[in-house]
């Protein structure tokens, strides 16, 4: 009774444990050190990876270098070493790029470091233009000497005009550079970076501007006094109105060509020493041109007209106003999984048309759209299901419009209502299914083969190697000792070899020989009757168990003879030895016939 209680208890316990295991089988990782490594007050350092400190360490020294480099560029420009200044500028550019990538890597673009980066970028642009302008001015100086010696008033005039334009430009650059001084210095002070070099560079920049101004004055003086202008029959006038304009406004430039053949002559109009347009005079020598303010920097610009390369008008300047823009974005509407966004870009002078507005989704530019004549834009985007932050951004450094950003909207795109694609539609799923089925089939076959292997039909002793010599211990049943399953191996070759072995052994040791025969017979009978532990049965027991088989009589005879030889002192003669073989063969035949495999 107690046994059954134990059995049911064990079974119930196993069932319970298996049930608990099955509950957890969906997430087999019961616990790992990461599960409770983070609390509100601290984190477990054992699960954290140590960080290479290189990135953050480099930041402040890099910013310090970047604050000193403009100074060296400007010093070189002041001494007229344009080539060296260019090299320094290149180094400045490299350092700036390092800072850009570092700020992005450290994800600090919204901090004061990001502000520093933006201002530094602006400085880089300013200095690049300064270097180019200074280089060009150096060229102008050389050309001026040449043209002056060659007494070429036309070229001299063009050089002077270009010089005027460049001087204007450099002044503008200085104003921009100066406007950055205060914010940049305050950020540097916050980070305890030495900004004396930078502040000195401001003064030097001013010196450069002054020097350029003086040079230009000299050029104008030279032009006006030392060179006799060619007596040219022509004169060209120019005026413009209004004197300032904003983006996409037009400035009307007009003038007159006086003297000689004035009808239908080509007049070139240059803005900032670059050719803007060619117009033709009417029959009175009057020309007009509508200059549209487009991709031009804000500030003052110079403009003049030239006729046939030798007759110059006066220089007139106009101002381009930097207009403040404001970008509006309407509430995006969700429509069939897509987002319909519309809005408008306006400045204080009216709607801004023909510029590109970017639509940002989760911080990345998704698409961009041009604004129409009313400054409006409309675009559809497909950000994918889930929650997103959407806003519009306008940023174009080439036009005199300020940067602006619309307000941020949080939208939720519902998951598609369409039916999910069928399981078999994606080839990956099919492949996974096939592989999984293959593996399972493989394991089932493996398990089955493993099970079959253990249930062998061939008698065990037939597969065992025969030990050397005749050291077969006599198997005597001993009630005190446990049944030895790994007993001494009694090898037997299959089939007729048994009888050969028997005959061989019979001469030397008849007991062992008949034992070989008997073991063979016993194993066959055990296989036939599916006996457990055949070697634990005595010959008579074997006999008794096979009482139903047709070989019973043969077997009884065999057993009787066997006992007398094996356990007795009788030594069989030749006839009896042969009878052993005959009986064994008969039994074997009967067994084979009975099995019918």
């Amino acid at each position: 009774m107690r046994r059954y209680i134990l059995w049911t208890l064990a079974l119930a316990l196993s069932a319970g444990i298996i049930f608990l295991v099955l509950l957890q089988s969906a997430s087999p990782l019961l616990y790992s050190a990461e599960y409770d490594a983070f609390t509100k007050r601290h984190a477990d350092p054992a699960v954290l990876k140590p960080m290479g400190k290189d990135s953050a360490e480099r930041l402040l020294p890099l910013m310090s270098d970047l604050l000193d480099t403009p100074g060296t560029v400007i010093i070189n420009l002041e001494y007229g070493d344009v080539d060296i200044a260019r090299q320094d500028l290149e180094e400045f550019r490299q350092l700036s790029q390092s800072l850009d990538s570092l700020v992005i890597n450290l994800d600090m673009s919204e901090s004061e470091v990001g502000d520093f980066r933006r201002m530094n970028q602006k400085n880089l642009l300013i200095l690049s233009e300064l270097v180019e302008s200074t280089a060009r001015l150096e060229e102008l100086n050389t050309l001026e000497i040449r043209f002056r010696d060659a007494r070429d008033p036309a070229s001299l005039t063009s050089i002077t005009y270009e010089g005027e334009s460049l001087r204007n430009q450099v002044s503008q650059l200085y104003t921009q550079y100066q406007s950055q001084e205060e914010p940049l210095v305050s950020v540097s002070e916050k980070f305890e970076i030495d900004s004396t070099g930078y502040e000195e560079s401001q003064d030097r920049f001013e010196q450069i501007v002054r020097k350029i101004g003086d040079e230009q004055e000299r050029r104008v003086f030279t032009l006006q006094t030392q060179i006799q202008p060619e007596i040219s029959p022509f004169q060209l006038t120019m005026s413009l109105a209004p004197e300032q304009g904003a983006f996409h406004e037009t400035i009307q430039m007009r003038g007159n060509l006086i003297g000689g053949e004035v009808a239908d002559r080509e007049i070139e109009i240059l803005v900032d020493t670059r050719k803007a347009a060619s117009v033709f005079t009417d029959e009175n020598g009057h020309w007009e041109y509508l200059f549209r303010i487009d991709a031009i920097d804000p500030g003052s610009h110079t403009s003049f007209a030239v006729f046939s390369g030798s007759t110059f008008s006066d220089i007139v300047s106009f101002d381009v106003i930097l207009a403040e823009t404001s970008l509006t974005l309407d509430e995006p509407r969700v429509y069939e999984g897509a987002l319909s966004c519309s809005g408008g870009l306006f400045s204080d002078r009216g709607p801004v048309d023909g510029v590109r507005v970017d639509l940002m989704v989760d911080g990345r530019r998704s698409t961009s759209q041009l604004t129409d004549e009313q400054g409006a834009f409309k675009v559809n985007i497909r950000p994918g299901p889930g929650e997103h932050k959407v806003w519009a951004l306008f940023s174009n450094p080439d036009v005199p419009l300020s940067e602006s950003q619309s307000r941020v909207y949080s939208v939720t795109i519902p998951p598609p209502r369409l039916q999910e694609p069928g399981f078999f539609d994606s080839w990956e799923n099919v492949l996974a299914l096939v592989l999984g089925a293959l593996v399972l089939a493989g394991t089932i076959i493996g398990a089955y083969a493993y099970l079959r292997r253990s249930r062998s039909h061939v008698p065990a002793f037939l597969r065992r190697p025969r030990p050397a010599g005749g050291d077969f211990p006599v198997i005597v049943a001993d009630p005190g000792m446990p049944i030895q399953e790994r007993g001494p191996d009694v090898p037997e070759p299959p089939g007729d070899d048994v009888f050969i072995a028997y005959s061989k052994a019979a001469d030397s040791n008849i007991r062992e020989a008949v034992h070989i025969l008997f073991s063979y017979v016993r194993a066959e009978i055990a296989g036939k009757l599916s006996l457990k532990n055949p070697r634990s049965c005595t010959p008579r027991e074997i006999c008794r168990k096979s009482s139903n088989l047709p070989l019973f009589t043969d077997l009884s005879a065999f057993v009787r003879q066997y006992e007398s030889v094996r356990y007795g002192v009788k030594i069989p003669d030749e006839k009896e030895r042969q009878s052993f073989i005959d009986l064994a063969r008969a039994i074997h035949g009967s067994l084979l016939g009975g099995r019918g495999e």
């Binding site: 087999p28 990782l29 050190a33 399972l440 099970l451 292997r453 065990a460 457990k532």
Partner: protein, 86 residues
Amino acid sequence: MRKKALAFLGLMIWLVAVIGFMLLAKTLDLEIFFVLWLIGTLVIAELASDASANTAYMRNLRYVIACGVFIFGIIVALKILEILNA
């Protein structure tokens, strides 16, 4: 009986060692534990049996091993799925 006790004891010591190592590594994973249990059982079954007729518990053990191998196949299939989908 002695061999049965030894087989069981060996398996238990193996499992306790596995649990001990899991505790030291602060990671408790059912899959790893199951696979190691299967390996231990297979080793024990091989050592404790002969290819000839066996005791009852050895024969029953083989059915348990067959089930274990089947579940092992399921785990392998799931892991392959995981790798493919990653």
